[in-house]
Amino acid sequence: MTHALIDEFKARLKDHVEITDLGELHWLLSIEILRDRQAQLVHLSQRSYIDAILRRFGFEDLKPVSIPMDTQKTLSAAQSPASTSEFAAMRNVPYREAVGSLMYLALATRPDIAFAISIVSHFTIRPGLEHWESVKRIFRYLKGTRELWLTYGSLPGGEKLQGYADADGSMAEDRHAISGYAFMLGGGVISWASKRQEIVSLSTTESEYVAITHAAKEAKWLRSLIAEIFHPLVDPTPLLSDNQSAIALTQDHQYHARSKHIDIRYHFIRWMVEDGTIRLVYCPTEDMVADTLTKALPSMKVKHFASELGLRSL
């Protein structure tokens, strides 16, 4: 029945345009798609793309590493070249091209490098050797993890859409915190972001609040997408945060002396709680998967969160 419908659709499309029937979905925008109908799983990988960019930048022989970003090192604009010789050393380095090609991975199938990419991309205007070393480390990390597949399907706990929002501002030299969010569905992350906040926060509560707002907007959009294509979601989408006071702020209309400086547009989130779009839920930091989208983590946590986000070896 379904096959007959698909064949009919293709045949009718052929009346209007010339098509090549590529059969079952297996390749999309440089993403390899493996489907296991028995287990009801789908696996996504950009390993050929990883190989291609390693080759393009001559990084095939780099030694693999287990984390995409050094936890000890802080990148800053102060490491940008200042002297003529430092500029000369960077002249032929394809920094922007390398960051650009990593960006596509971070957007498509690799949330585990999203934070590292967002950091190195701050220095594309005047990159220095330290910045370039950090870019190389991402390539080395990918070399060691090219066999991680982003997996979705009939996995435990995957029935419902659920979001995580987190913020971290401790390492930013300019005091702009980083927002991170991850939305899980079918056992894997379907939407994620790691983004420098536009405002300078005066407290961690405020920056967590901004991160929650950023995530709440995405929740609203995802819910309308799912409603349009599949079915409307009745229950509010749980949005997990590890900051109790930020959660309290979303539920309380009272004017707090310590929070009245928070920009009015960030209170948008209160309406979304009231109209049943989202529901704020506390989550302990060790289970906060969006942590990996806001800071550099040690190897054990990088592995743990990557796997929690649905990046698995076959």
Partner: protein
């Protein structure tokens, strides 16, 4: 392919008309081990020489967001739905230019029918490189889905 699609007609351009440049773009298609399997040639219009408000108007067209694609993949897999793909050959060549979009293009290098003279190509359909190609193709595909296939 281009001729069959009725992409252009030969015309004398009015004296003040803007003539958009054209160019051939060549590529050797390789298989996974790097052997050349096919040579491809595209004729592209040099969209940078188009004049806004005369040669083109709106150029926006929707693009699928990656989160949408992943959301659909995730849900469709759980529901054990069929997922198929088709490639539309020369997709952009299917777009129609509107009557307001009178575009003249320089004949590409090597294209010289006997009676060409001073004539140029008056475009009927979109080509790769034109500013409005993405939008016109999107509109065409929407029309096919809505009017042709009843979605």
């Amino acid at each position: 392919m281009l001729h069959a699609a009725g992409t252009w007609v030969l015309k004398d351009a009015p004296p003040a008309a803007n003539i958009v440049g054209s160019k051939w773009f060549f590529k050797a298609k390789k298989d996974t081990s790097g052997n050349v399997v096919r040579y491809k040639a595209w004729l592209v219009a040099q969209g940078f020489s188009q004049v806004p408000g005369i040669d083109y108007f709106d150029t926006y067209a929707p693009v699928a967001k990656l989160p949408s694609i992943r959301t659909i993949l995730s849900i469709a897999t759980r529901l054990d739905m069929e997922m198929h793909q088709v490639d539309i050959k020369g997709a952009y060549l299917n777009g129609d230019l509107t009557s307001a979009e009178v575009i003249y293009m320089k004949p590409p290098p090597g294209y010289a029918p006997d009676d060409l003279g001073k004539q140029v190509l008056r475009l009927k359909r979109t080509l790769y490189g034109l500013k409005q190609s993405g939008r016109r193709w999107y509109q065409k595909l929407t029309a096919i889905f809505v009017n042709g296939l009843g979605f």
